[in-house]
């Protein structure tokens, strides 16, 4: 860290008028939003690539354990909370068995025991959970 630069910037900011500080704040906000938006786009692209790889390499797999241990699936789990809305969207599309990933990331399971394995009911339960938690509309 360049302590001298930080110090001189702090001095410059302290010398600004109220209007100038407000203008600076707006500019920093815009910059932060652009960075955040760019990160989101990158995250979604990575997620889509991993989903595609996982689907292509698990067409004939029946084992829940095997498909969930696939490297692409594990990388999706590794994306953490940011992947939750994306996983819920994939569930809506019925693109794959994303329940293990959701359960691993959230440490929750909204599926009642009597609906375990019943894919359509499991999807309904997770989508309701996602709406209740504000991850999807």
């Amino acid at each position: 860290m360049n302590a001298e630069l930080v110090e001189s910037l702090a001095q410059a900011i302290l010398a600004l008028s109220v209007d100038e500080r407000s203008l600076l704040s707006e500019k920093l906000d815009t910059e932060n939003k652009l960075t955040s938006s760019s990160k989101q786009i990158q995250l979604e692209a990575t997620f889509a690539k991993l989903v595609k790889q996982w689907r292509e390499e698990n067409h004939g797999v029946s084992s829940t354990n095997q498909m969930s241990m696939h490297p692409a699936y594990q990388q999706i789990i590794g994306m953490g909370e940011a992947a939750i809305p994306l996983l819920l969207r994939e569930l809506e599309k019925k693109s794959g068995q994303w329940f293990w990933a959701l359960k691993s990331i959230t440490r929750e399971d909204p599926v009642p025991p009597e609906h375990r394995g019943k894919t359509s009911e499991m999807i309904k339960a997770w989508l309701k959970w996602g709406r209740d938690k504000g991850y999807i509309c």
Binding site: G60, S62, Q66, S68, F99, S104, G117, S120
Partner: protein, 125 residues
Amino acid sequence: MLGNNAWVSYVTGFIERDFPNLSACGYQLTSPDTIDYNCVAWAAEDNENWWWPDAQYIHYWPPNVLREETLEAFKAMFQTLGYEVTQDDNLEEGYQKIAIYSDSNKMPKHVARQMPNGKWTSKLG
């Protein structure tokens, strides 16, 4: 009609990539792809559930059967449905047979069911 030409071409591509012997033996696509059920469910004549003794208790596995990925657990599970162990895959009148495929570690990977005409049906995935 089972999907459009693009779908058939896509599915045929990965089936013959992953199961090259099928091209020589012959096979038929009989239903669209779905995540509603898997090969175990299909063998058990259930097309609404995904059956697997997974470690996270996500999918269906009949109660009172050992929940583990072993040939013994799979045999025990199918025995609860009325199946008995047999050594051959010949068509026998009055019997419906299923085949459990496992890897070199005897870990089940796939299940197929024999139809009354002697041919085998299974769900991929």
